[in-house]
Symmetry: C2
Subunit: 672 residues, 2 copies
């Protein structure tokens, strides 16, 4: 009898002694080393590749060589010739131990690999999908031992994969017999949560997919993901067709109130669009709809209810009662979505009547519940969702900011498209502006700007542009602390000009004339004050005076320059280096829930703990709102901000001189 | 502080001491006494009625009086005036303990009441339905403590009924908000298996229903049951519309083989008919479809697969592989059945490719797995399902008897309708017959027979009539042991007459002439031999020479005179007193599964243990079949039968005299 070989696996560091002849995969499994496999050790899937370390590894006290492993087998030859294999790689299910080995399991061979995210400040997504593929060989039927095809499939899954007592969905059952025979009793099965067989394919099936959906009031975004690698293989968006029933949520709820049965129409159209979107990403990803096994959804409460076919009318008025705030797990067919016959849908939990599954997605993506620091997350849209707290306490509310941030109700507002002003700087001495438009990299005062923009011109200001315009107008002294455009400057510059009782600031004089009016400034003031008041309410409830970091989520939050967001007082004072865009955090949350089963339990637990604040019934909300109308704020200090920009002297009143502010105190802010 | 009162509950005998002022229902619950309640102690449902024993009960060492209980309350007055209450009854949720009491819980107030069945030899059905109703008061939504309506309903169910972590189905969720508001936050909820909310009604809902379905190849029978009392409140039947695709199972499977996609048509038509049948029983029971929460199904494997939308083609040829043999639990909507929106379907497990959920139903109804005695159960139809065994071992098989027992392939055969001969006696001396027909209580030789049958005449022989005709012909010596009609008797009686190479027996000479031909006898011989051979195979496998009792199930089994079944050798010899009709045992099994949740687990476990015998691959089946062609059998003794009827001397061969029988032995049977 030969001596056992000593095997060390990296990066896990797990080690053990094994008899010569043991397959490397078996050794790894017995030590609990994380190595993937779909084919169950048959040399088909190539998921279990490993690499042998060569040399004397002092650290591990081992001398390792590929000579201590059986030679490249015919099964490996076949796999390598079909699919290709990197130099030095082996299939751990085929290679047998013949002596001491240091074996490296590369990241792509691990089941629980991590998806690296672009931002360094957020946690990585660990791949651990609820749905996994298993290749299985099924015993053929035998008249002498009658049993159902399902029962023999179950027996195979138990013997070959240790999966016990699996249930099988009806629509999969309906196709089971022909698939088993077509695959000649070798099939690949998709199993959800180690409990349910939700799909079966003849032979070996390599890939399974899921779609994460951010169901917004205006836009629906879908991301097709490879359930094994976590890779986003296709993304697409579509307008929410419910827009024809009302631009914002409340007008859609009103539509239902005025048109009984209207909720059914809205449910039907959004499901139809989702089904189209599924087709689009499937085509882009070059896969079949039947390869899509799972979908996850985030969305605000009204979108959430309408998707589910629930009348949202109760969300339209106090006490804003949700039908449910738990998560939901359904068949995709229950929502008329055509993916795999028994494909599943998971919808993240809502938090409160105005704080939906989109906010749950943001929390899951940003993970404030893991932090020591106090994190403020604002998902800015027609409605702003605000989350504040850390691992000890989390609070959430929503605040009705209105559509100003999305460019609506702004005189020269337009959607983000070529020709829209997105960046602007105003000379504080001359009050002359220069700007950049979407579709051109040059500033308006640079040579070639006119030439490069001649195809689309300069047509308006987009949402992020209006924030900068008002921020720069404030920094240049054109807008006073109280938001009034200082008419006295009309004498100094033709850019400030009278418009009856108030004044406008002219950014571009050529047609179309682009101006910022007093009404525009007021609309932005109201919107930013609503957001800030919500934030203040949560800070007060949490008992903090400052926040440690701020994440701006959502399409709008991703595009604005956080500095200007702070200059106009959209967000509270904070170290600017700690203020970041979180991108489409809600959508990322949906993707995490798609790829990691534990994250579902995690977010269900977290939202249960979130303290919900209803701004509409908080008496102090109004006071916070009024105080937040000032630039950047009527009463609050912006110490960090004052350290990076030169804030103008505080001035209010039509006179344009310094006046009393709402809080009755005077301050000066200077750059440090 | 007053002394505790001593309370004894009957019939349970549970006893305990309780403080004065305790509601009787609370006392009962704390002792685990089985008392029903839907309203949760609000005096609405009247389910918790009890009766106080008056007097000195030595046996229980207690002096009890209704004076030891609070007086009839206004809540009880209201209930009694609305719904009526028997003299002496009290609502145990309203009556408070004031002293020692002997309290009787009548059967109808118990949750686990038993349904008494007509036959004394079978176990009673214990009512313990998977679905129960719970009246619950739900907290109203509060903006200051945002939570979903579902979560508050769940909280109410936990606080008021101890039901934790209930899930709620989508279609119930869709109606939850308007129902809670219509009911003014008081609703009745249907909960399945203490796990899932499957229906909600505003206010108090008293009754919930289920339907047990026996899905036969020819007939579909549905029984509407009150889920609380177990009472069958309506029954109806409908022809299986699949008949137009083929009379028997194999011709339907052939239809699918010849017409790809034909299985979809057959699935659609049977589901449509089931949906019509649901409407019929709902109307007969004067209830809404939405009051039906559950359906259970039994059926043979082909019916089972077609109901589920599974192609039955694999059942049409060896190795006769079922898609699955486990039970199935589904939404009724998955089978296109319109009952309550989230109503459920439970389909009993199949056993083998030819032994279906109908046989599982028969086992559940007859309970051979509880017996010490060896029970033989035969469900006779176009295919016979046979179960043999006791609590130690159970074996099952099916045997292709063909349609002869159903009157098909019989020259004068007809379905059971007025004018069909169902009883017949033949004088062994004169060979003259007398008979009775369906629709008339007189025998044909009694006065008034012609008058009473003149509207429909004498038109043919039904399935049970043909068994008696052949049995009587054998007892009268007209048919020999080998099944040959003895032509030598033509000399003795004009009733026996030549038909070329063989002879007929004439039962009725007026038009239409009703005869039993040699071909008819052969058809019955083949059918009964197939059944008997299956039985013998199981007896051999079980290692028994005799059976202790026989149950004949199915429509045919219920109508035949068991004596004649034994005379022709359809079933093996047995004490005739222990041979009984089990009626529609399969349908009863479906009813048990509807009303008792434990029975589902029970039958799932039992079918798993059943040893399946495939007659088609058993080499000895053919031998048993050949030997079983004789009357009553070529080789087997019929000792018990010989004790009650005078069996004719054994004779074979065209000569009509005694000849060699198949087994080569001679015997004489005499009445004892």
């Amino acid at each position: 009898m030969s001596k056992d070989a000593h095997i060390v696996f990296t990066p896990s560091g797990r080690r053990g002694d094994f008899p010569v002849g043991t397959p490397v995969l078996s050794a790894a499994r017995s030590l609990g080393v994380d190595i993937d496999s779909v084919c169950g050790g048959r040399g088909i899937c190539g998921r279990c590749q490993i690499q042998v370390g060569e040399g004397d590894f002092q650290k591990h006290k081992i001398v390792s060589s590929c000579n201590n492993m059986t030679a490249f087998s015919s099964v490996e030859e076949r796999y390598a010739s079909k699919k290709g294999m990197k130099e030095g790689r082996r299939l751990s299910c085929q290679a047998l131990i013949e002596g001491d080995l240091l074996i490296d399991v590369p990241a792509e061979s691990q089941v629980h690999k991590q998806v690296v995210r672009k931002r360094a400040d957020v946690r990585e997504i660990e791949i651990d999908p609820p749905i996994r593929l298993h290749y299985v060989v099924v015993e053929e039927p035998d008249m002498h031992k009658p049993s159902g095809d399902l029962e023999r499939l179950q027996a195979g899954l138990e013997a070959q994969w240790g999966l016990k007592n699996l249930h099988c969905d009806l629509r999969t059952l309906q196709t089971l017999q022909p698939i088993l025979r077509k695959g000649q009793w070798q099939v690949t099965v998709a199993v959800e949560n180690e409990k349910t067989i939700i799909a079966v394919w003849p032979g070996f099936k390599e890939k399974a997919y899921g779609i994460a959906v951010d169901l917004g009031s205006t836009t629906i975004a879908a991301h097709l993901c490879d359930l094994q690698t976590g890779e986003v293989t296709a993304s697409s968006g579509i307008m929410n067709p419910q827009i024809r029933f009302g631009e914002d949520l409340m007008s859609r709820v009103s539509y239902v109130m005025m048109n009984p049965g209207g909720e059914k129409e809205m449910t039907a159209v959004v499901r139809e669009s989702l089904d189209i979107l599924i087709g689009v990403v499937a085509e882009e990803g070059k896969i079949e709809r039947s390869d899509i096994l799972s979908m996850t959804f985030v969305g605000n409460p009204v979108m959430h209810h309408l998707l589910l076919g629930i009348d949202p009318v109760e969300l339209g008025g106090a006490p804003f009662a949700l039908t449910l705030n738990s998560s939901i797990h359904l068949y995709a067919s229950e929502l008329d979505l055509n993916i795999s016959r028994d494909g599943r849908v998971y919808i993240l939990p809502c938090i409160a009547g105005h704080v939906g599954a989109d906010t749950a997605g943001v929390i899951l993506s940003e993970g404030p519940h893991f932090q020591d620091e106090i994190t403020l997350i604002c998902d800015v849209g027609t409605n702003a969702e605000i989350v504040l707290g850390n691992k000890h306490r989390l609070l959430a509310c929503s605040s009705p900011t209105g559509p100003a941030f999305e460019g609506a109700q702004i005189s020269s507002g337009q959607r983000a498209a070529p020709g829209a002003i997105e960046r602007i700087r105003i000379d504080p001495v001359t009050l002359e502006p220069r700007y950049r438009v979407i579709g051109c990299d040059l500033w308006s005062d640079e040579e070639g700007f006119a030439e490069q923009t001649k195809d689309f011109g300069v047509t308006g200001i987009c949402g992020s542009g209006i924030i900068e315009a008002i921020g720069e107008m404030f920094l240049a002294g054109i807008i006073q602390t109280d938001g009034i455009i200082d008419g006295s400057l009309a004498e100094k510059s033709p850019r400030v000009r009278s418009a009856g009782k108030t004044f406008d600031y002219v950014i571009s004089e050529s047609e179309p004339v682009i101006t910022v009016t007093q009404t525009d400034v007021r609309a932005i003031q109201l919107a930013k004050a609503a957001l800030y008041a919500g934030v203040k309410l949560l800070m007060e409830k949490l008992g903090v005076e400052t926040v440690d970091r701020i994440q701006l989520a959502g399409a709008f939050g991703s595009h604005i320059d956080v500095k200007y967001a702070m200059v106009i007082g959209l967000i509270p004072d904070c170290d600017l280096a700690r203020v970041q865009s979180a991108g489409n955090a809600a959508g990322t949350g949906a993707r995490i829930a798609l790829l990691n089963k534990k994250s579902r339990k995690e977010i269900e637990d977290v939202v249960h703990r979130v303290e919900k604040i209803e701004t509409a019934v908080e008496p102090k909300f109004q006071e916070h709102f009024v105080n937040a109308m000032g630039m950047p704020h009527t009463t609050d200090e912006f110490v960090h901000l004052a350290g990076v920009v030169t804030l103008p002297p505080k001035k209010t009143g039509k006179s344009g001189g310094d006046g009393e502010d709402g809080g009755g105190r005077r301050r000066r802010r200077r750059a440090s």
